[in-house]
Amino acid sequence: MKRFAGFFKKELIHIIRDPRTLIILFGMPFVQILLFGYAITNEVKNARIAILDNSKDEVSFKLIDKILSSGYFTMSEYLQTSAEIDHAFKQGEVKLAVVIPERLSEKLKRNELVQIQLISDATDPNTGNTLINYTSAIIRDFEFSRSENLRPVLINPEIKMRYNPGLKSVYLFIPGIISVILMLVSTMMTSISLTREKELGTMEVLLASPMKPAQVIISKVIPYLFLAFGNALLILALGYIVFDVPVKGSLTLLLFESLLFIAVALSLGILISTKTDSQQVALMISLFALMLPTIILSGFIFPVENMPVILQIISNIIPAKWFIVIVKGIMLKGIGIAELWKETLILVGFIFVLIIASVKNYKVRLE
């Protein structure tokens, strides 16, 4: 017992005297709890909505007005034809489309049953469902407040869940998992690569040689590119075979984008390894500092649109966020480079920035 106490005391002293361990022990959970607390909102706010008003009469305007002033939605666009509905969803911004049939006022006066179509993007089943519920409630309320006497609800929302008619949450998760795993594994691998050399001492001989920083860095990223790519293939295969997650779009494009994303993660790992001399610290930064923000802020589980604005802004610098958009787009919506060029370019930009930062941060001496 005495032995244990002595050892325990010694370990405490070690910890207290090592500032790095303290930061990791106390700082990180603190930050994570904050993030977690703010980011989880199942409430839906400011979902982008597209409206196709085939009536364009007084009642339809009032209905639309009520929907838009609920606070849940922001208007994305007024559609003119039903052909535009598809396009609006594919662009990625619209989460709900409301289709109002012709001659709404007239039909209501004649007590005819009116079908209002509510089409929601169910790639995130939670949001899809919630939006439908909100809108249905608004419509029922509208109808209730309009009628002079208690009449049966004449407006029947026809609900259609796009892209995920079965509301399979696995569809939501697989793209997210691909991103998170690729990110974590790739970053971890390269983050310990340089630091291992520093710890083993081989860095010393490397530095005293004519090897240039860019040469060292790039020659460390490329081999892992192949490894991580294999990883990506594996996960995609698993998603398809085990969960029936489809790849509606081009597989080649998906693989290409995966390669880009892997390169981003690898470069990030290298950047981490230029900044620390210890494998442990490098690993911890990769795991903890990256893992939770990536999981929370990338849109993996919690839709980014539901988060406070400040977190939405931060989520833009999380590479996984852009990659998830790409993967969901290709796998579930079947869209191609025409719609995804912006996200692709962002990934490429990330690679450049990170590699350049790594080269700049690479210490050419031991100090």
Partner: protein, 238 residues
């Protein structure tokens, strides 16, 4: 006899690291255990310290069997090496208290011993400073003394003076002499050939076997040379 070793063997798969060694060390003796790197010295010492079980053969250290009573062996011996040493981010005082605690010395008694030790080594002015701020020589002397806190009957020193300045080296050996006079047995390995001369007897391991064992004077006579270094060279060349 404080150490008795008979036909000790250690094999790692096909490779025989220690090949049938036998010797005895008596109380108060300073025994030098020499040999090239890879000759099997470290393996032999690990067995004697109860850190590794022999493949075959017999060994008794401080009255306990090195195969069946390893925990008891560990408690009765002291150990100090260049690699394993004290904690740099603890102070001298804290190191003493920690290691003393490990060996089960009661707190009150330990405090007294700590104070005595610090005074003896002249560390009063720096007793609360972290070890890493002390000049290297002091760490050696402190480490040796800490290894003696629980009053072991035999103490194993593995290259204890590597890289230490010549003055401290000699002070260290004077400490060893004092300890031997008090009746403790010292089992030491070293690459400094002049330190081999300080030993009562020396054994030289080559490829897992003990090729020579006698007092330095006898060895020099047998090999017809004037220094331990030449004894070593002659043995290695043969």
């Amino acid at each position: 006899m404080v150490i008795e070793v008979e036909n000790l063997v250690k094999k790692f798969g096909d490779f025989t690291a220690v090949d049938n060694i036998s010797f005895e060390v008596k109380e108060g003796e300073i025994f030098g255990f020499l040999g090239a790197n890879g000759a099997g010295k470290t393996t032999a010492i690990k067995m004697l310290c109860g850190l590794m079980a022999p493949t075959s053969g017999r060994g008794v250290v401080a009255g306990f069997d090195i195969k069946t009573q390893r925990e008891k062996v560990k408690r009765r011996i002291g150990y100090m090496s260049q690699k394993f040493s004290l904690y740099d981010d603890l102070s001298s005082y804290e190191n003493i208290m920690f290691y003393g605690g490990i060996y089960g010395i009661r707190r009150k008694e330990l405090k007294k011993k700590a104070e005595r030790l610090i005074r003896k080594l002249g560390l009063e002015s720096v007793e609360n400073k972290l070890l890493k701020s002390l000049p290297p020589g002091w760490k050696q002397k402190l480490a040796f003394s800490v290894a003696l806190l629980h009053e072991p009957s035999v103490i194993f020193l593995d290259e204890p003076t590597g890289g230490v300045d010549p003055v401290t080296r000699r002070q260290f050996w004077e400490l060893i002499y004092e300890t031997a006079i008090e009746g403790k047995t010292i089992f030491v390995t070293t690459h400094y050939m002049d330190e081999a001369e300080y030993c009562d007897r020396v054994s030289i391991m080559v490829n897992g076997r003990i090729d020579a064992m006698a007092s330095p004077a006898e060895l020099k006579q047998n090999f017809e040379v004037t220094s331990m270094e030449d004894v070593f060279l002659k043995l290695a060349r043969s």
